[in-house]
Symmetry: C2
Subunit: 747 residues, 2 copies
Amino acid sequence: MVLNTKNKFNTACIFYMLFFSITIFAQQPADFVNPLIGTSNYGAAFPGPIAPRGMASISPFNVAGVKNTPMEKDSQWLSNPYVNENTFLTGFSQVNLSGVGCPELGVILLMPTTGAVETNHLKYGSTYSKEVAKAAYYSVNIDKYKIKAEFTASKRVGVSRFTFPKGESNLLLNLGLGLTNEEGAMVKVVSPTEIEGMRSVGSFCYNSPEEAYPVYFVAKFSKPADKFGVWKKPSKYEGVEAQWMTYNGKTRMMENTIKTVVGDSIGTYFSYKFDKEETVEVKIGVSYVSIANARENLEQETGNKSFDAVYKETYDEWNAALSKILVEGGSKDDKTIFYTALYHTLIHPNTLNDFNGEYPEIKRSKVGKTKGTRYTVFSLWDTYRNLHQLMSLVYPKQQSNMVKSMLEMYDENGWLPKWELNSTETFTMVGDPASIVIADTYLKGIRDFDVQKAYKAMLKGADQIENNPLRPGLKEYIQKGYLTTDNKGPVSTTQEYNASDYSISLLAKALGKKDDAERFKNRSLSYRKLYDKNLKLLRPRTADGKWYEPFDPVSGANFEENVGFIEGNAWQYAFMMPHDIKGLIKLMGGEKAFSSQLQKVFDSKQFDMANEPDIAYPYLFNYIKGEEYKSQELVKKLVQEYFQNKPKGLPGNDDTGTMSAWLVYSMMGIYPISPGDPVYTITTPMFDKVTIKLDSEYYQKESIVIEKEGNKEGKINAIQIDGKALNSYFISHEDLVNGKILKVIQK
Amino acid sequence: MVLNTKNKFNTACIFYMLFFSITIFAQQPADFVNPLIGTSNYGAAFPGPIAPRGMASISPFNVAGVKNTPMEKDSQWLSNPYVNENTFLTGFSQVNLSGVGCPELGVILLMPTTGAVETNHLKYGSTYSKEVAKAAYYSVNIDKYKIKAEFTASKRVGVSRFTFPKGESNLLLNLGLGLTNEEGAMVKVVSPTEIEGMRSVGSFCYNSPEEAYPVYFVAKFSKPADKFGVWKKPSKYEGVEAQWMTYNGKTRMMENTIKTVVGDSIGTYFSYKFDKEETVEVKIGVSYVSIANARENLEQETGNKSFDAVYKETYDEWNAALSKILVEGGSKDDKTIFYTALYHTLIHPNTLNDFNGEYPEIKRSKVGKTKGTRYTVFSLWDTYRNLHQLMSLVYPKQQSNMVKSMLEMYDENGWLPKWELNSTETFTMVGDPASIVIADTYLKGIRDFDVQKAYKAMLKGADQIENNPLRPGLKEYIQKGYLTTDNKGPVSTTQEYNASDYSISLLAKALGKKDDAERFKNRSLSYRKLYDKNLKLLRPRTADGKWYEPFDPVSGANFEENVGFIEGNAWQYAFMMPHDIKGLIKLMGGEKAFSSQLQKVFDSKQFDMANEPDIAYPYLFNYIKGEEYKSQELVKKLVQEYFQNKPKGLPGNDDTGTMSAWLVYSMMGIYPISPGDPVYTITTPMFDKVTIKLDSEYYQKESIVIEKEGNKEGKINAIQIDGKALNSYFISHEDLVNGKILKVIQK
């Protein structure tokens, strides 16, 4: 009987292992993901596990402490919990942002140690080795303690597994240390296997501290601690009292306490005494609503599941999501950068709602409840350009829910989002990009949202002169057609407003609102008033309408602050009117002048692959008949130069997947050239064959195929859609999704 | 019909008002309570409302801020939330200690203001006027805002009523400011009528910061706020980041938030806009277990009750408690100081358990549940001398529960308490006084507790040489009979151990443990080895047995630190062996020498009425036949000099009612001269007649009467018990409670 049971177990186990191995080692799309890409060169990605659009994630945290830390978090404006070059590890953070430009989250740091409890991260930190980073899995050896640490995650729960050597071991949960600028935490040890608490986060980009908010958590341990406690390092008293307070400012160890402890610098320790090598699994559920919800998230998603079971589920989820695009041909590195990029586009916007549907509304006074998914982290100034277009094509259900989330924000807050983060409006960057995203979605046929409400919301952002948080300077913009130097980044902000107005005009047209369509079409062209014929560039004007003097078109590169442009200079914004490239060509005096000026951007090294304004420039030669090969060459060159299967393999901040979406599109050979316009421009695909599976809820065909034929290194000679010649380098979304095969033939 | 209803209402109303007026204005014992007594001269009492042995209490908080604040809390070692001389009010604290010597609690500060929300207490503070302080009621006018503030309390709930003028008004709940040295709080606005949170407290006497613990609270408002929010003043960042953080260290206003906020300096504001004068009632329930329990305490005790209804109930409870002793004759001031003193003895020890019976156990890892009352705040070095004796006589049920609470602490912690405060052992002061209290209780016939466990606990404290937190230096004490100068306060600590050993010997005898009785009796006399015949005083010895040199018997007065004695000098401890006064008389060379030496204490102004060691000295002339009149004179003089119907009407720290218990006994004409010994010594009562109602659960007679006859200003000529002459100035507890009338006849 006993034997029998054992045999059964072994059989099941072997079967499971086989199954598992096959799933993992068969070079599925998920197997090509290398989460280390973007963890250097300010890519700001993190290498640890996350589920698709997960709320929880785990990142090794190696940016604190001077020793062995070339990029220390407090020594510069650093926006990531992990930098590949750093070597001093101080824990594993349980909520993280990917590819953003400001420090935020990177808190609730779990750290295994051995020996006596040490609570100072500068002392308990360690070097590490043997990093393994895969979709849904990260592992590392912690040198100082000879501990193997492994991590996976479900949507709202981070799962850690530590293999401790024999002897005294500890699991520290540090609630003081973190990437965010915000401080303050609360913790309560519920039992020797459970901790609950919260950590304050917020002040993204050093803004809006009054919007700070809590991330709640519950941590469950697979083995009860032999000893536990809370530490607190209080702030230092001054004055007469300090002389009686012998403990003033010193870390205190509160052993065995089950009482709530609060403070800026607190943490818990769970200590074990093992008489042989042992593993401990820790599940940390998070929530932005309450501790109770964090606990429910944990129970519902990971309940009694083992580490391996959670990993398997999340891996499968990744694989299913990534398999929506299948690529053939191309090198292993090509596939790696492609699927890693696609992976990066599936991190943000991420899930905000708890398992039970609850989420904090964007004004603080209410908890909302969704039946679908409430998304958060809308870095719209970045993502309006290509990421949402990719979602509409490949993951239309998600894109639809993202639009619904944006409309919920409008309901809650009175405004569409601009740069929304965990239900706070950070008002980072400029422009009114939500309108573009919504119009683009609708015009691509994804219409299962309240478009009338959306339209109303857009008009409010576009027309309300007073107290308009989305479009400061709107009065001047409407009166003069442009913002003057009385405003921040007046030229580029004018361009952003133009872009939004163009999208509104497109949607107005589709909705049969002719007057609005006309009005916003006209408004969208007003950038022309900032066109300086002599410079062939846009140039800021002062309040009296004169050109701003002295004007240096080069000033503003590399994020330098300048008069006229946000995060860029006159060259990097010169062609950022994708909806009116034909108008711009005329303005510049014809195709030759346009082409020459565009070429100058690249020749003079003004092109910046690392930021969004000029991100579509490489494709603009497609507008000049006979010069399309330049786009083909440029795109290929840029991919090779900036996107690599290396930690520094992103050109800079991934910007919540925008750079990655650029890569995904560029490698597939199409690009959504004009946000809002349901149109793609075409270049050489970097794979022999790309199959995009379409969602039958939104599209009629099962899939799109993009094929490359002929000389792999040659120029495009012909383009066919379902065998019929396409006499253009542009194809509408409708034609694409209703065609079956887009064939690019090279000579 | 309408008229009829109105009539009914009026009749009910008038009836109620009459009833209420009668209750309040009929000069019941509770009407004599003046809570302002002890609010100056370091009495450390607070003037606000509390229920008998209440967990919650409300005190005006006027010790913060330099302006108009002669006694600023951070400028000295100040142990009270209110000082009568101060004039700058910054709120009303919701948990407070009465008559202690170290700063603690004095937190959760509710403050009404008008106009714009101001969160800096130095700015929003105000002078005040028209203070009314009564049992269960305190009211004051807040000058700056023309707000009338009234307060009452049930056992676990503070109830405030504010009458606001027309216009904008605010209720601030400041969780940063406080008397405690501990910092850190959490708060969450649940709705426009409810706030929940916690405040860290602890580090009593600047000790044991690792024992810091939370007081949880729920606040309910009778009117929903028109606006609300949380403020937070974060600590200041330094380094590179500070340059981007324009808000660094500045108070932030988090409007409308329902999210949890933590920090050292946080608070909430509830704002109103009134178009006429309006009142708002605020109920704040507290708990040391959880927010849920604080809410349950609030609901169960005050649910839908009005301010007036809560006041009425608590007033009635006070009156019932105080009516256990009825006094006749004496001036109004006499009655006032008497009933106020009795009131002060009924504040601590106070209730720790929640309405549902839960309380934090004295080790942090468990929540206990009691069916009776779990008491806390055992300042036993003070209260073993007379307060518990008073409880045994007048409130034996309470005393029994206090003993049970002490035994629970032994169960939880392994040791009897020493200076227990909200389930933390502060280890303040010296000695092992719990044994004395328990023995005294048992020997007075209050025996409904597990005396065998109690005895075992006492023996552990008395005999365990190693790791004994109650009796440091025990090994030396047992070996040599005394502590040497290697220890802190070796002489007085030896005396304390002697006193405890004597009580243990008494209990051992009662339990039939003859050997122990003999052993501890012998141990209790070892102070004699420290008697310096030349000085006729006790004197410290060094480790080698020699007298400590140079020795100044006067050094140590006024709490000055010295070698030999804790909080006192050789004179103030010279007679602190109440169990062996006869032995001391012999030691000193007879009655004359004893009397002369005792008289010297008073003549040389070494007697300190403000601290416990010499508190029984005035009664010691009763041991010398023919000199008892000196005790009568001294006691009377001291009462007149130190106890008055004025804020400075206590000699110093009330020491959780010990000074007040001294007064109650002294005014009744009896005093428990030898703690542990069930015996009283007799002096002139200060009333014509004192009736002590006895609890039928513990005593056979219904009451004791102490009467004074003859010349009111004269000396005692004769004492009778139930008409029979008592040929002694001492009477056993048994004789007293079984007699009916103790008559003191003066000539």
